[in-house]
Subunit: 383 residues, 2 copies
């Protein structure tokens, strides 16, 4: 269950010395075809890292033959020298593989505002190219970790084809400067338009709804590479469904490993007038530090939820709102409902349901609690 | 330097027993006139507390003869019974003072989702009415405290008139469920339109730009009462200037006492295309948990600032941004500038300047760092 499980892919993960810890920090994933169709979504942050600026150019052609990823440095806000390092990475990969640099996506993660050590990076890329194998997926997944405590991989099977994935980070396809990088591989035969539609559909309801700490990264990238090596062209709806399942699986792994978190919180907003309303309400709650600290304190503080709902433009009547924690409706019609001591928040998984009573749409946003460990990890990260 | 310093006002603060701590929890402020002109601004949260719903009705007439405030319970999300308690408070004050209930503003602060103990509250109001005096300002300021570690008062003098103020809370005229309540008194002769314009002008650049933790309260109220007892009608510009100074003073006292904060951070955004752009950028930075934890860790992490700027719609070029911490320009043109070890963040006061190089407008947003103590205080608050 890794990115080299689908046919047509080789990968490697090596130690280049970019990380002070001496752990693996350069990964390479190659699509040996026959197809080189690819799709990608990038951070919407306007201050983008150099690898994102480069990779957006690569993806103009809707194809990619390789992706090189490094941890130990985000190569962000590093100016022309930083862009040159990204470009040189792609050039070196292209040279080793006999392809064009414009076919090579580049991803970086780590501290921002510092130059990568170019000599170590280039040596690492050379090593990775020499070490490529169809068993290299797990090593690649390990090499992209930063503050992750474990590598994240997933696999879904179709009829004669499969989709593999790896991910790092603790955030959403926007949030968390603990950048999220995701590489998904498939041996299904998929054309460029289908790949793009399927990837956007899958990320919209998975990574896009993961909002660990509301902070948007400069480096987030989700890349889908399609080798076509299975020779099977799947039904688009089925392909999208399996891809969405895989992205959900990876997103939940990211949530479960979020920096310093004690709780994984699923905020389900139901009976909204529109899906956008449901997402807006869920995201407002997910970004309330007072709500998040309350969950850390095992306090089912529904008042802080209503206060967050009240900051949105969604359709609802304040006196009609219901809120449940772990299935106990402790707020009914904007007032105290069942006794709050019936709610047990000792488990890591927490369910919050907010009933807007304004329509029939719904959405789920996933977030984490705000803990002492979050403060510790993020106040000490660069020192 | 208190709300009873201007002529025409009496106040009291008493212990009604609403707080488990046994500290003072009911305050009453009376305007003896001759004028009863008043102005107010309330939270923009759509889920408003009962006292806000009531007081918005009172202020339709642009006048108020008294304000009764309680700590020990926000009377929010308490339904019709809660509204009845608010109404009964106003009725009792009116009865004791021989005025109409519709002339009585009501403010509450404390936990939300719980009914006030009406019998204790009513007994407290009776005591407060009996104890009104022209020396009662400091007692009133003390009785509205919740998690505040000290009471907040201020005074500004005009030519023959003055403005007094008291405040409680740790947040902004929006943020912080640690509700912000502010009562301002003046003996200047001011008409209703002038009072309203002056109060909105003053709060717009003071309380509105205090963003301690990005959470909008359900109870926030800023009330200005004008007795006219000095007999002096000030120039509107001068009155607005003194009122703005007073509000700034109180806002800085709130910032300095914010829950669990180690640092007070002034984020000044300069050379913006519009003032709105400057406010949007400042607020985005103030709401970044990663920036706020970095300051707690004494880390001048300008990368997290640029990442926040990148989430806004303000006019700027990513490669042109400059950032200074305490006067040291450690980011120039979107790249590393002066050495970061020249920045010393050991003092409580922190200055951040972001130069957008897109125009000539500017704005300052004040916030706090995100600390272990914040997490502790807000995870344990209701338990």
């Amino acid at each position: 269950m890794t990115i080299t499980s689908p046919q047509g892919f080789r990968a490697a993960g090596v130690t280049a010395g970019l990380k002070a810890s001496g752990k693996p920090d350069v990964a390479l994933v190659v699509n040996d075809g026959p197809s080189d169709v690819a799709a990608a979504v990038f951070t919407t942050n306007r201050c983008k890292a150099n690898p994102v600026l480069w990779s957006e150019q690569v993806m103009q052609g809707n194809k990619a033959k390789a992706v090189v990823l490094n941890s130990g440095g985000a190569n962000c806000y590093t100016g022309p020298e930083g862009f040159q390092n990204t470009h040189a990475s792609a050039e070196l990969v292209a040279d080793k593989l006999g392809i064009g640099a414009i076919d090579v996506v580049v991803c970086s993660t780590g501290l921002i505002g510092e130059q990568l050590q170019a000599d170590k990076l280039m040596a690492g890329i050379t090593d990775a190219a020499a070490g490529l194998s169809t068993a290299g997926g797990p090593a690649a997944a390990e090499a992209i970790m930063t503050t992750d405590t474990r590598s994240k991989e997933a696999l879904r099977e179709g009829g004669g084809w499969s989709i593999g994935g790896m991910a790092k980070g603790a955030g959403m396809l926007a949030p968390a400067l603990a950048t999220m990088l995701v590489v998904v591989t498939t041996d299904a035969q998929v054309d460029a338009d289908t790949a793009d539609r399927a990837l956007r559909a899958a990320t919209r309801v998975t990574f896009d709804r993961l909002d660990s700490d509301g902070c948007m990264s400069t480096n987030d990238t989700v890349l889908l590479m399609c080798s076509g090596a299975s020779g099977v062209t799947p039904d688009e709806a089925e392909f999208t469904a399996r891809l969405t399942e895989l992205c959900h699986d990876l997103a939940q792994q990211l949530l479960g490993d979020a920096e310093g978190a004690d709780h994984d919180i699923a905020i389900e907003v139901v009976n909204a007038a529109t899906e956008d309303d449901a997402v807006e309400v869920g995201r407002a709650i997910a970004r309330s530090n007072l709500f998040k600290t309350a969950v850390f304190g095992k306090d089912p503080n529904w008042g802080r939820i209503l206060a967050s709902v009240g900051t949105t433009n969604a359709a609802f009547e304040p006196g009609a709102l219901d809120v449940a924690f772990n299935g106990v409706w402790i707020c009914k019609d904007g007032q105290p409902g069942e006794p709050r001591d019936k709610v047990d928040l000792t488990e890591r998984a927490v369910s919050v349901i907010v009933d807007l009573k304004a329509g029939e749409e719904k959405a789920t946003i996933w977030t984490n609690d705000l803990t002492h460990a979050y403060v510790h990890e993020n106040s000490a990260y660069s020192t």
